[in-house]
């Protein structure tokens, strides 16, 4: 499944494959032509992926097949043991988490979880948590503190679910509580924005000592579509909104909202999950190493200072 801006690439790829097939079956030597085409493909890919617009990156962040939190957990940790439930109302499948080893060290990990197909997406409410999901996340934060394990949060949600039941059970309250709970962790906390970082529903598990972001992920106070609907009264102006919101990894790094960009393979994380996981692993390893020397109170103060400094104004 190719996104709009990927079509020239996939067309060229198809053509090369066709010629290769012809050359192989006919015995005709097309190596000259093929090498020209391959070089052109490389250039085309470079041109396309190095200069993606913000809106194109939003589409990559949502691309079917993009590694979900569970994929990443299984890709970068070992012996993942999933834990369930908020001990109060239900188990929200839009949030997953548990215990695992990262490079041999036990950690606590949590993430928004989208489905990998329609059926799973319905089960997981398209990665939009109810209050119970955040309560599960808080329970895992408690565990991390209790056992002095690093806490890793994987962010990938269009936003917290905006529905009647969610409001009834305190969606705003639980997001605030989760922000506060995570802020209070006395262990290293790292948040990684994997795909979509939709507003408060993302931030609820985003209060890390360091916040990392995948090259093609987005993180914003509002989705481009909703922003467009409000400002231009047209959801179709989402591309414009994406530009205005400066929601790309590079933008956010410049604003200090994120601390590091994790590179993706050409064409996006889903093109080569193995490379994607290796890149995440490398960045997470470095980040955890940086935080390792800090004691419990220093970690809290480090997090305080990190977020304390965000915002721009005139005295």
């Amino acid at each position: 499944m190719a996104l709009e801006f990927e079509k020239p690439i996939s067309e060229l790829e198809a053509k090369i494959a066709e010629l290769e097939g012809f050359a192989a079956s006919s015995g005709v030597d097309l190596s000259g032509e093929l090498s020209v085409l391959r070089e052109r493909l490389l250039r085309l890919k470079g041109d396309t992926f190095d200069n993606l617009s913000r809106w194109e990156r939003v589409q990559l962040a949502r691309a079917p097949g993009r590694p979900t939190s569970l994929d990443v957990i299984n890709g970068i940790t070992s012996d993942f043991l999933e834990l369930s439930g908020d001990r109060a109302y239900s188990d929200d499948a839009a949030v997953v988490g548990g215990l695992a080893y990262f490079e041999g060290e036990p950690v606590v990990v949590v993430g928004h979880q989208k489905g990998r197909d329609t059926k799973e997406n319905i089960l997981r409410n398209f990665g939009m948590p109810h209050p119970e999901g955040y309560r599960k996340a808080m329970r895992l934060m408690d565990l991390a503190d209790r056992f002095a394990r690093p806490f890793i949060a994987l962010i990938d949600t269009p936003g917290a679910y905006p529905g009647i039941s969610a409001e009834e059970r305190g969606q705003a309250w639980v997001i605030a509580q989760s922000i506060q709970r995570m802020a209070r962790l006395r262990v290293p906390a790292v948040a990684i924005i994997l795909g979509e970082g939709g507003s408060g529903g993302a931030l609820a598990i985003g209060v890390g000592n360091r916040v990392l972001i995948m090259e093609n992920a987005w993180y914003s106070v509002i989705s481009p579509e909703s922003c467009a609907a409000i400002l231009w009264r047209e959801a179709k102006e989402a591309a414009k909104a994406a530009e205005a919101l400066k929601l790309s990894a590079k933008d956010l790094l410049e604003l200090g909202v994120v601390d590091r960009i994790i590179p993706e393979p050409g064409g996006g994380a889903h093109r080569d999950p193995k490379i994607t996981f290796a890149n995440i692993k490398y960045a997470l390893h470095q980040t955890l190493s940086e935080l390792k020397p800090l004691g419990p109170e220093a970690l809290f103060e480090d997090r305080y200072r990190r977020f304390r400094g965000l915002g721009r104004f005139q005295e």
């Binding site: 679910y161 905006p162 305190g170 309250w173 605030a176 507003s199 408060g200 409000i230």
Partner: protein, 279 residues
């Protein structure tokens, strides 16, 4: 967040501030009220008790002990993203500043409330629907931090459509910043009271406004995470009567009390006295 549109719509309905006439019509019971009477009654309809919107300055007057308020807010917003939609953000800011007669959507300072040393922070709906950008976040944070340093209680009056779109991710970060700041009060056992007024939604509800020691709400205020319009769009059905109103939130365990504005000062004073450290 998504509530600026709502804000535009609601102003006409709820706000009587700029009406030059001597008489005001209650939007709930249609009673004609003499404007001076309405002012004397803190913009609560004397006939039906409907709470109309109250300006930020009036709120300061309502809650702080007479003569005790010393304003500390005054930061000015900038345009960190070069944000432009149908109009550049700086232009919007100028208009908001003219309308609200202050640099951003908040006023606050030191005061006493029922003789308890306090920091009072009041959001201003007249400025961009009380939306929270860098200035609101910073003023709240400074106010909270100064309360912690000076052993004061904190009272925050919220009224907001949520985080400010034009500062995008920086607005979002104010949710974390203000929430973190509240931890400074914790260490010193200083009380924090959150007062929710009509409307409080989005990133404001989902951060500092929801994690107070005591949460009070004015009657029939709209309070929630997502705006009613967004929810309606999502679920494609009508919302139940009274949904997301103060009384609904009380029933669902989210607020401690729904308090008539005319008793608000007394209640806030009582809570502060009960929670403030004894020497």
């Amino acid at each position: 967040m998504a509530l600026e549109r709502l804000f535009r719509r609601r102003r006409a309905q709820g706000e009587a501030r700029d009406v030059p006439e001597l008489w005001v019509k209650c939007p709930k019971c249609d009673a004609q009220i003499y404007k001076k009477d309405l002012e004397a009654n803190w913009y609560v309809c004397p006939k039906c008790g409907h709470h109309m919107r109250l300006s930020a300055d009036k709120r300061v007057e309502l809650l702080s002990d007479t003569g005790s308020f010393q304003q500390t807010t005054g930061l000015k917003p900038i345009d960190p993203l070069n944000f432009s939609d149908t109009e550049p953000y700086p232009k919007r800011l100028e208009r908001y500043q003219r309308e609200a007669k202050r640099p951003d959507a908040i006023v606050g300072g030191r005061c006493t409330i029922g003789s308890v040393p306090s920091v009072l922070l009041v959001m201003d709906y007249a400025f961009a629907g009380g939306s929270m950008g860098s200035v609101v976040g910073e003023e709240l944070t400074r106010g909270i931090e100064s309360a912690a340093n000076e052993n004061r209680g904190v009272v925050i009056v919220s009224v907001s459509g949520g985080a400010r779109m034009q500062e995008a991710a920086l607005s979002l970060m104010q949710m974390a910043k203000t929430t973190l700041a509240l931890d400074r009060l914790w260490v010193k056992r200083l009380p924090y009271i959150s007062i929710l007024t009509d409307p409080t939604t989005g990133g404001v509800t989902a951060s500092f406004a929801a994690i107070a020691d005591v949460i009070l709400a004015e009657p029939e205020a709209l309070i929630g995470f997502a705006g009613p319009r967004v929810i309606k769009q999502t679920i494609r059905q009508d919302l139940p009567e009274g949904f997301q109103r103060s009384e609904f939130l009380l029933k669902h365990g989210m607020v401690d009390k729904v308090v008539d504005r005319r008793q608000l000062k007394d209640t806030v004073s009582d809570v502060l006295k009960l929670l403030y450290p004894r020497d």
